[in-house]
């Protein structure tokens, strides 16, 4: 995965001096971050450290108060509401949520075809065949006519992945995709993500699955109270953390 050939291409995500406050709480502090096309970035940190907030700023689910974010050349501005650039970004950036957030009133197929039909103007027929292909890819092609509530958590999360991929995103965001799953279902979701990484998708993943992070990440970022404390290749961060905070965090999460 880790090919360190310098890319001439511009970064797909570029964050400069990004600050975010929730009331008096300073959640993100001067975030500087660039993600190259094809890169898999895993963000780790304690709960409440701001790691979810960071990736939610990238597709505008959270607004930020100062700094600059550019996603594939589209600028996001502080306090930016529903600008045109934000709309473009959302069609190009897919997201998988901790709680799946499938649409319970729509069948699995309709969950996957809705956005391509309504946003991209794809024909229903074409969207359906794409959906079928994506569901096959995540291993649930036989469930297309079911409703989300009829599926297991692992299956639901794979549908959510297929739903996001149906928009042919340039970047995928994962917000703790396995945290709400029963242990025996985590593997199937991670497998699907692993497959996606292998195909060259640019991914930003917030997770507590350290083994997975070590395996698929090109770069691991450790966040502590809204600041990027340390980042680097997984081997460097996990085996030889430079900062005391990273060391103590890792010693706590790697113990079990």
């Amino acid at each position: 995965m880790t090919t360190d050939t310098p890319t001439a291409a511009q970064p797909i995500v570029h964050m400069q001096q990004v600050n975010k406050h929730f009331g008096s709480l300073h959640v993100l502090k001067d975030i500087e971050l660039s993600v190259e096309p094809g890169e898999v970035v895993v963000i780790i940190g304690a709960s409440g450290s701001g790691k979810s907030t960071l990736i939610r700023c990238i597709n505008g689910l959270e607004e930020f108060q100062s700094g600059h974010i550019e996603v594939d050349g589209n600028p996001l501005t502080p306090y930016g509401k529903s600008s045109k650039a934000l709309q473009t970004i959302r069609t190009e950036v897919g997201m998988v949520f901790q709680q799946f957030n499938l649409f319970p009133h729509l069948s699995v197929r309709d969950n996957v075809t809705l956005a391509p039909i309504k946003v991209r103007g794809v024909s229903r027929q074409q969207a359906s065949s794409t959906a079928q292909r994506l569901l096959e890819r995540v291993g649930i092609s036989d469930q297309a006519d079911k409703y989300p509530s009829q599926l297991s958590g692992g299956q639901q999360q794979r549908v959510a992945l297929a739903r996001a991929l149906a928009m042919e995103p340039r970047l995928m965001l994962f917000d703790e995709p396995t945290s709400a799953l029963d242990p025996e279902m985590i593997g199937e979701v991670l497998d699907a993500m692993r497959e996606l990484a292998r195909e060259g998708m640019t991914m930003m993943i917030v997770t507590h699955e350290m083994g997975f992070a070590r395996e698929v990440a090109d770069r691991v970022i450790y966040i502590h109270s809204g600041q990027i404390v340390e980042q680097g290749p997984p081997a460097a961060v996990f085996d030889n953390p430079q900062h005391a905070r990273t060391q103590s965090f890792l010693s706590r999460v790697l113990k079990h």
Partner: protein, 223 residues
């Protein structure tokens, strides 16, 4: 002469042909008013949850005023009060429909607000993250789910409004109670006639309950 009053079944049955003409009026006022009230409710219910304060404020005002005053006063105001402003009489049927519309509209606004607010934030976030606009997100994701949750309280409101129309006998609309009163005035069979009137309300509301139960059962698919 026997002074104990007996329930006279033949008197009760005899009243039926005189009461039946009241049913179309009761239904027309109820369902006409509720249909308009439904749209009023959607309109003010959505204003009520607008992020814009000056859009929210008129909705709160409307809901508080018409939920906080008796429907009898509202219909009297419309039927006897408004003509003084308008300079001409208002048709009693129109006044009745209007009263049900504005009154149920206030309650339905709250039902709409509750329904929409009950949908988890993640639904909106997921749809926005897929590139749907705010309008599309509401139309395809939030509203269909909210509406399913609104069916039971809407049914409840429907039943309340149907019964509220009985108050409109005071403005002389020929609905069920009014028909009964006119009939009693000549036969003095209040016990039998009001019993039959009550039965007729029950038949209407019970039918509605059955329909709603079916709707709810079907609405649960895929939840």
């Amino acid at each position: 002469m026997d002074l104990t009053f007996q329930f006279n079944w033949s008197a009760a049955l005899a009243s039926i042909p005189y009461l039946l003409p009241g049913i179309p009026y009761t239904l027309l006022i109820s369902f006409g008013g509720l249909a308009i009230g439904f749209f009023i409710g959607i309109f003010f219910g959505l204003l009520r949850i607008s992020p814009v304060r000056w859009l929210r404020w008129p909705a709160i005002f409307y809901i508080e005023v018409f939920r906080g005053t008796p429907i009898l006063v509202q219909v009297l105001f419309i039927f006897y009060g408004l003509p003084q402003l308008l300079g001409g009489p208002i048709n009693a049927l129109v006044a009745g429909i209007a009263a049900i519309a504005i009154n149920s509209g206030a309650y339905i606004s709250e039902i709409v607000r509750g329904g929409v607010q009950s949908i988890e934030r993640g639904q909106r976030e997921a749809s926005l993250s897929l590139g749907l606009s705010r309008t599309q997100s509401f139309r395809y994701i939030i509203w269909p789910q909210a509406f399913r949750r609104m069916i039971p309280p809407l049914g409840n409101q429907g039943i309340i409004s149907i019964k509220d129309t009985s108050l409109f006998s005071v403005i002389g609309v020929g609905e069920l109670v009014r028909q009964g009163q006119i009939y009693i005035a000549t036969t003095f069979t209040a016990l039998e006639v009001y019993f039959m009137v009550a039965l007729m309300y029950l038949a209407i509301t019970w039918t509605l309950s059955l329909i709603l139960r079916q709707l709810e059962r079907r609405g649960l698919v895929g939840q």
